[in-house]
């Protein structure tokens, strides 16, 4: 399998590492020619405003839009989620998105960097928890009828009221998260996003994921140790 990773700006090298770990060939995508023959595309984290400009300047906006509309499987994390979304709130006036995933997102909805956090997350279909790293993360404020919500976290409004907001969503050939599984070295969302495209059922994929469970548990504990350096919020 050849999985493209949009490599204009952001943490694309972590995504390329996740793709390699799954035994797939990762292709950095910087121009339209790099899109040929891909089985999937990762839209990485980064700054969505800068990515918008670079996508247009590099002549990638139209070809990627077409590929996504034609059903190319894709995974978007953080800024990648914003790029896939139908509606972007709190962006620049001229901000555009590919508009293929039927959700509305609020940019930096969780707040500025001091509000960035990590947490253990239960994702539907995955046996073990996922260490989720949220960096100035977007909040999904609306989901369409055909969108599956695979995980949620509590969101506190300034007045203290709390609601559950979706943080992993799937629709058709698309999977997206508000956080960065790649920063914790966890490739399971990549496997969910692209494993489906070669005719494997979700049940098949989940059973392979179970076999790897032990390894992930190890890496989560390492992550927990690191958190002692900071404060708990």
């Amino acid at each position: 399998m050849r999985i493209g990773v949009l490599a204009l700006q952001g943490d694309f090298s972590e995504h390329l590492a996740m793709v390699a770990e799954l035994g797939w060939r990762g292709v950095p995508v910087k121009e339209a020619a790099d899109l040929v023959g891909l089985d999937g595309l990762v839209l990485p984290g980064g700054e969505s405003t800068a990515q918008c400009l670079l996508l247009e300047a590099s002549g990638l906006r139209c070809p990627i839009t077409e590929e996504l509309r034609d059903g190319l499987p894709a995974l978007g994390t953080c800024a990648g989620l914003i790029m896939l979304s139908r509606t972007v709130i709190g962006g620049r006036e001229d901000q555009w998105s590919f508009g293929v995933l039927d959700v509305a997102v609020r940019r930096n909805g969780f707040g500025r960097q001091v509000r960035s956090f990590e947490a253990n997350l239960v994702v539907e279909g995955l046996v073990d928890v996922m260490r989720a790293v949220f960096i100035r993360a977007p909040v999904i404020t609306e989901v369409g009828d055909k969108v599956e919500v695979l995980a949620s976290v509590p969101y506190r409004f300034p007045d203290g009221t709390q609601v559950q907001v979706p943080v992993v969503v799937a629709e058709g050939s698309l999977v997206a998260s508000s956080f960065h599984p790649e920063l914790a070295g966890d490739p399971r969302l990549h496997e969910l996003a692209f494993g489906r495209s070669v005719g494997r059922s979700i049940a098949d994929i989940v059973s392979t994921l179970d076999e790897r469970e032990e390894r992930y548990v190890g890496s989560f504990q390492m992550g927990d140790d690191q958190t002692q350096e900071g404060r708990s919020g």
Binding site: A7, D11, G46, T49, G230
Partner: protein, 295 residues
């Protein structure tokens, strides 16, 4: 769901990872911040005077007026960074309370403490620090810096010092990767750096534990390409943009050059008819080397 952990090392370094391949631009007012965001900056550094003006005016350079920083925060949607003087933790506390996204403990401002840098672990907001060599970088990381930038020589429009610093850092990183395990103690001694960080570099194949960006003297798209090819993962551009003839155009050109640093055709396209670059200063003509501040 389990508890949410804020301010962890991974969360602090995480924002730096998201800025990779991008350009962080010095801005002195909301109007410049808007120009920077329009040009595709991944973040802005809010300050009262760009380094070239600090150099010209002299006197003590301090943290910017909070009102100025606030105005810039309200103008742009991208992360906003701001500078504190070396060792001035009270300025850092103010910036943290303002929810600035990154604090730059910077040699461009006049140092406030000649013995101690800020204890950066004590903060939830991440810090970036300058370094001229690997030992200095590791001492800053030991104090809690989540991002390292070359110091270069700010406000000169001359990239020579940034190149020297980047080459020095990456060359030592490669040597540590190739060293034997016994030699790591010698490296820690030679660099005056924490042994654990030296061992971490050896174990991970020669990578700094945090991202490495370039700062200090970038003035052209070709400069941006040069330092990216030398191992920088993103660029800070200060005086180089707003001291040039056509800041909006130059800003955008440096953004594209940082992304497509390996593609000479893009570099040709963005460099053509770019107008005047900032004039620039030769190192021998400098009265004061800002990079000598800090240790």
């Amino acid at each position: 769901m389990a508890e949410l952990n804020e301010g962890t090392a991974r969360v602090k370094r995480g924002l730096a990872e998201m800025l990779r391949g991008g350009v962080i631009m010095d801005v002195v007012n909301a109007e410049q911040a808007k120009i920077a965001e329009d040009a595709g900056a991944v973040a802005v550094m809010a300050l009262e005077r760009v380094p070239a003006d600090i150099r010209r005016d002299g006197g003590v350079a301090r943290m910017s007026d909070p009102a100025l920083i606030r105005e810039i925060q309200e103008t742009v949607t991208i992360p906003v960074m701001a500078k504190v003087r070396i060792g001035h933790f009270a300025e850092a506390q103010i910036l943290e309370a303002m929810e600035v996204d990154y604090i730059d403990e910077s040699e461009v401002l006049t140092p406030a403490d000649e013995s101690y840098h800020v204890d950066k672990w004590a903060f939830q907001v991440p810090f970036v620090c300058g370094a001229t060599n690997l030992g200095e970088a590791l001492r800053r990381i030991g104090e809690g810096a989540a991002l390292i930038r070359s110091k270069g020589e700010a406000g000169t429009g001359n990239v020579v010092e940034a190149v020297r610093h980047l080459r020095s850092i990456t060359s030592d990183l490669r040597a540590i990767a190739a060293a034997s395990e016994q030699e790591l103690y010698g490296w820690a001694k030679k660099l005056n750096a924490p042994y654990e960080l030296v061992a971490e570099i050896h174990a991970n194949g020669g990578h700094l534990p945090v991202p490495l960006f370039c700062a200090g003297g970038i003035a052209t798209p070709a400069d941006a390409s040069l330092v990216m090819q030398l191992g920088a993962e993103a660029n800070f551009v200060g005086s180089g943009i707003f001291k040039s003839g056509d800041p909006a155009r130059r800003a955008r050109a440096i953004v594209e050059a940082t992304t497509h640093y390996q593609d000479p055709q893009t570099l040709i396209r963005v460099s053509e008819n770019l107008g005047e670059a900032m004039v620039g200063i030769e190192m021998d003509a400098l009265d004061q080397h800002l990079a000598d501040r800090g240790w």
